[in-house]
Subunit: 130 residues, 2 copies
């Protein structure tokens, strides 16, 4: 395949931004309406659900959910208010703060997962992933 | 190619989110440092630069730059403060508001374009676009 020109790369990036943002918007709407979660909140619950013992250091969770620490902190505060996540600290290192998914958080994630998978299947995710 | 499973789609979407957000972050940093523009501001200037007569209706500009009308309105207000864009209205239909790139806006866009193209070329944009 010929190496793309700079303008072709820019056009492809522009196109990808659009598809990414439309899909994020659809996820926010569908997950919000049916399960009271944003796309980012779903990602955070998913990362915790998949982690051993359902917990991760905040720094590691931010990396995995692609969020800055300040955005993650606000998001975890919202999830704590709904009792879906709890912040805990480690006995050996009190400076390390963990986020821990609660039983209610696991239940909410498992309810929401089929909605997210349906949006990815039906939306333009396959096109995004081309 | 086998049809991806739902979990494969979800993993691919998660991976794409990360690459998209890292590239947006790099664009914000490099365009911000060198040219005082965010990635979104650059996109708006680019859409106006490419449009006939350098102007577009706000509604059309929002679609092309993948921004909601409220986000676009705030962004255009910032660009107006730097004299890079001007809002105009049409003599025949005063309800239609246009954004118009200024000469200073064209100059800033042309200065910033090589930076954006370099980030796309050097960053993981080719991987994003795979």
């Amino acid at each position: 395949m010929a190496k793309p020109t700079d303008d072709e790369l820019a056009a492809a990036w522009h196109d990808l931004m659009g598809r990414y943002q439309r899909l994020t918007c659809t996820l926010d709407r569908e997950l919000g309406t049916a399960h009271g979660l944003s796309a980012s909140e779903f990602e955070v619950l998913q990362q915790l659900f998949l982690a051993p013992d359902g917990r991760l250091k905040m720094a590691s969770l931010g990396e995995r959910a692609h969020l800055t620490q300040s955005a993650l902190s606000r998001l975890v505060t919202r999830l704590e208010a709904d009792d879906l996540v709890a912040r805990t600290s480690c006995r050996d290192d009190r400076r390390a703060v963990f986020a821990q998914i609660t039983d209610a958080g696991r239940a909410r994630y498992e309810e929401a997962r089929p909605t997210q998978r349906r949006v990815l299947r039906e939306g333009d995710c396959p096109a995004v992933l081309r």
